[in-house]
Amino acid sequence: MIEYEKYLNPTLCSVKPSGIRKFFSIAEEMDNVISLGVGEPDFLTPWHIRQQGIDTLERGKTRYTANAGMLLLRQEISNFYARRYLVKYNPEDEILVTVGGSEGIDMCIRALVSPGDEVLVVEPSFVCYKPIVEVCGGIAVAVETSSENGFRLTAEQIEKSITDRTKILIFPYPNNPTGAVMRTEDLKPICEVIKRHNLFVLSDEIYSELTYGGDHVSIASIDGMQERTVVINGFSKTYSMTGWRLGYALGPAPIISQMTKLHQFAIMSAPTSSQTAAIEALRNGDKDIVKMRTDYDMRRRFTVHAFREIGLECFEPEGAFYAFPCIRSTGLNSEEFCEKLILSKRVAVVPGNAFGDCGEGFIRVSYCYSIENIKEAVRRIGDFVNEQKENYGS
């Protein structure tokens, strides 16, 4: 018998797997479940975008593109960021087209983090940052936000976590799982701290087009921040293009250049048909975004209201497509809640602690579902909550 440990990278082996694997394996295997559990849109990719992808295949444009992505696509990305978020990037050397936002995050962290570097990770947040930092030998330091602050990051919170080894802040807004956003007035004070301590920022803006009641503000648009920020974004959430696997990174040329080098060796180039479809999305997809955003917004109001009606505290999310109700009143922890809920009512939601320890006491509810689906799921959750409260109270 081969001792595989001898061959495997010990740093990788020491990275902790997701703590909620047990619940996930239950949830994945179960049939007849009403789910509010997925992190991807229910809309299909708009037809004109799909058609562009098909056309590319039909014409046999199936070769590699430039490593950094097609120049035309980088130009359109540059236009998009300039017109939507008022930040200008040079398509020649400040943009890298990646395989989903995920690859951009990976490339960026690997380009920046050396062993021993401390990286501040705002939590709750998407699950990939910490493991990648750790694989690079970095130390991920959680900066915990809370519902009292609307899950926003404050200058004091960063200040408290900074040491002389702190190098990077990972800044995930609009936020998965909480739905929190950062407005200009929230960004300014934290940018002062970032500049004073000479930190670099990885801003994951994958949900930037899904904000309600105010446009997204990129941290890179704040004075003096563009030069110390890599922005990650992509097409998955904005245009319902999850399976196309296409994203991009924007940042200062010296950093994008190193990321591109790594990307060239690891990936070569992002899928060609996805890139041409993405050009179509950026050129003619604004109306699709408006339609989807309008729909999400109505479902968002419905979902938050429905959770409050069944007696669960629910912070008002202003971005992404998640609500993050608090379930502490049931006396259960997040995982117990989700496990019992799916077993007894066949409704799937995600335990908040999947997104960091401070997500404990919450569940992530996705509202990219039809209203009928949301209504029935919340009705069942309501029954479940009542049963739990009766038990808990007695």
Binding site: S35, G37, V38, E40, T294, R301, F302, A348, V350
Partner: protein, 159 residues
């Protein structure tokens, strides 16, 4: 289109309270606006989309192309209105192209459709000719898919 109309068209069973929550307005606002739409004839009614094939009652739907003589000063309105008044007719439209009026007759037996065309429609003075097409299978009606429902293929859970 107005968001309220959009919601009513796609989810007609939502209560006024639910509509108000989704639109961020009061229930009273919703009530008043719906009344306004109804009174002004923008909202024509509320109907349920039923897949009658599943009821196995052997009824058919026919699409009838009609060529007519337009009347001086009245165009097609006169004859179209007279056909629209017949209870068998579900929908009738004035068309561009090779014929004038397109008429839908549904939930009738084959025999009933034949009788309707032969005895009521064709003999009308201004009707020049008709062509009756029977619908063989419905795939989608009023934006509702009749074929097997699209199953959500996203799985139960993902981060």
């Amino acid at each position: 289109m107005d968001r309220l109309l959009y919601l009513l068209e796609n989810n007609p069973r939502l209560s006024n309270n639910e509509l108000a929550v989704m639109l961020g307005v009061t229930e009273k606002d919703v009530e008043q606006k719906i009344k306004l739409y109804e009174d002004s004839g923008i909202i024509k009614g509320y109907r349920t989309v039923i897949d009658k094939e599943k009821l196995h009652d052997e009824k058919v739907t026919a699409l009838i192309e009609i060529k007519v003589h337009p009347k001086f000063g009245r165009g097609f309105d006169d004859i179209a209105q007279r056909i629209a008044d017949m209870e068998e007719v579900e929908s009738i439209y004035l068309m561009s192209g090779g014929y004038d009026l397109c008429c839908l007759v549904s939930d009738k037996s084959f025999q009933e459709v034949s009788m309707f065309v032969a005895q009521r429609l064709s003999p009308m003075e201004d009707v020049m000719s008709t062509a009756t097409h029977f619908i063989l299978k419905k795939y989608k009606e009023q934006s509702v898919l009749f074929a097997d429902e699209n199953k959500d293929d996203r799985g139960n859970i993902s981060l």
